[in-house]
């Protein structure tokens, strides 16, 4: 055994020795404050890529149900690619692949990364990857919802003399969004969980910060448990917010029995 191997072995043994003891004190005093500071990064990733992804999902879904093969085939392939390959590969492909492409580009003899230094930051690549991934998944959900819109409503719009664009904007799309709301809230929770993959491309969101703490302190349990607690709380809160939002958007469709209108009617 060489000296290098010996030191490596003793390092790992030391690390195992330290990591073997779970210290609640270290968790609360050291780990939690740093992880809490990382929550905004996770939320930013979720909100920005959720917004971009869901906006992109609309043209993807519309193209997917279009009769023209020049439109539906690319959309079909896009959805297949996004849903058929692991997100981790997509993130690596975008981060390292685009990095490779950008690395070759030179402007006035300078590297592109030097001209635009923000391109070095992993967060843009993570947002890009999460956005197109969301566009694929949400596009497929929205496609189902667009097809589930009752045909009579579209016909009614036509009878009113609405143009095709107006029918889409006022009848089909709002109705479809309402139909796919439950699936969309599930998707949003999945997106929040997926933001943790950004930690693999040097983004210090909750899990990334946790992994950084592990590297620094050589203690594994506390950072991972702390990150787990934060994700559970975030998912719990997000689910409640989405449920409330869903109920609010469907308020006019609630059955009169369950709404507050009944007791008042009884009083009158």
């Amino acid at each position: 055994m060489t000296i290098d191997q010996c030191t490596a072995l003793s390092d790992t043994l030391l690390q195992m020795e330290q990591a073997a003891r779970f210290s609640p004190c270290f968790l609360i005093v050291e780990v939690m404050p740093r992880l809490i500071w990382a929550i905004p990064v996770s939320l930013l990733l979720m909100v920005v890529s959720g917004a971009i992804g869901n906006l992109l999902a609309v043209p993807v879904a519309v193209a997917r149900i279009h009769p023209n093969p020049l439109l539906w085939i690319p959309s079909y392939l896009f959805i297949l690619l996004m849903r058929g390959t692991p997100l981790i590969i997509q993130i690596y492909l975008i981060y390292y692949g685009l990095g490779q492409v950008f690395g070759d580009i030179r402007i006035d003899g300078k590297r592109l990364m030097q001209v635009l230094p923000f391109l070095k930051d992993g967060i843009w690549y993570a947002i890009f990857a999460l956005s197109i991934n969301t566009a694929g998944y949400s596009g497929e959900i929205l496609r189902g919802a667009l097809m589930a819109v009752p045909h009579g409503e579209v016909e009614a719009g036509r009878a009113f003399g609405m143009s095709r664009w107006l029918i889409f904007r006022r009848v089909t799309l709002p109705r479809a969004i309402r139909i796919c709301l439950p699936a969309m809230s599930t998707e949003t929770v999945l997106l929040l969980k997926a933001t943790s993959l950004a930690s693999l491309v040097t983004v210090y969101e909750v899990l990334g910060t946790g992994r950084y703490i592990i590297q620094q302190s050589l203690r594994t349990y506390e950072a991972l448990v702390g990150a787990a607690i934060i994700y559970i709380l975030m998912v719990f809160l997000l689910t409640r917010i989405l449920n409330r939002l869903e109920r609010r958007l469907n308020r006019d469709r609630e059955r009169p029995v369950s709404s507050g209108a009944m007791p008042q009617a009884a009083k009158a």
Binding site: A19, I88, I89, Y92, L93, G97, G99, L207
Partner: protein, 241 residues
């Protein structure tokens, strides 16, 4: 290498190219997926049983299991199970005398444990729904015939449960093949890891990650074709409206 190697040449078999490494990666991905799917299926059966059981504590345990797993990112769960779960398991096995002191858990076993544990939770809900879809009258009829619980499960519940569960189980299979790529972070040499090594070795990131994505896409497409066949075959005796 002397000459500028072509990109296709990088996929050659043997020492020069990365074709055999990627093929071995694919084999490992499939192995990990199948093994962890099997573990997940057994855990899912246990979880569904717990959730549908009469005992309150079993219900609570089942709910806790699925809620926690669903709320946590898969990557975090894999790290957590790998760093915290497997040492605890080793300690437990050593303590109960089922293994010797020098027991080492390989990345493969850790991957199977982690993914199996995660997908056990997802399959719990799939299987629970499938069991609930079985008409109650049939189980009562079986009970009236004097069938005991294991026989009832084997002859009445299980065959129908599988038929109802096939679409959900198929989705989870597609997810598990994709999530197996996360195992690369704990050092199992599956497709993502092999692509990682090949890409950083040759600096051809775009090419190797595209190849990895293509391999996963083929795996998904083949799985989808097989799943449609299975579904058709399972429903061959059922009339459709």
């Amino acid at each position: 290498m002397d000459a500028e190697p072509s990109l296709i040449g990088l996929l050659a078999w043997g020492d020069k190219g990365w074709g055999d490494e990627l093929a071995r990666g694919l084999a490992l991905t499939v192995q990990i997926s199948i093994c962890s799917y099997f573990v997940g299926f057994l855990l899912g059966l246990a979880g569904a049983g717990a959730k549908l059981s009469q005992h309150r504590w079993a219900n609570v345990a089942g709910d806790l299991y699925t809620t926690l797993i669903r709320a946590l990112p898969e990557l975090l769960l894999i790290l957590l199970i790998y760093y915290a779960g497997t040492p605890a398991l080793v300690k437990l096995l050593v303590f109960t005398g089922m293994a010797s002191e020098d027991l080492q858990i390989s990345p493969f076993a850790a991957a199977v444990i982690a993914l199996g544990f995660i997908y056990g939770a997802y399959l719990t809900d799939v299987l629970r729904g499938a069991i609930q879809a079985i008409p109650k009258g049939q189980i009562e009829a079986a009970r009236a015939y004097g069938m005991h619980a294991p026989l009832r499960f084997r002859r009445i519940v299980f065959p129908q449960m599988i038929r109802f569960a096939i679409p959900g189980m198929g989705n989870q299979w597609l997810n598990i093949t994709k999530d197996s790529a996360l195992i690369s972070v704990i050092g199992a040499f599956e497709i993502a890891k092999q692509a990682n090594i090949a890409a950083s070795g040759t600096k051809e990131y775009l090419f190797f990650y595209s190849v990895a994505a293509l391999i996963f896409l083929c795996l998904t497409i083949v799985s989808m074709i097989v799943l449609t066949r299975i579904e058709k075959r399972a429903n061959r005796g059922v009339s459709r409206a």
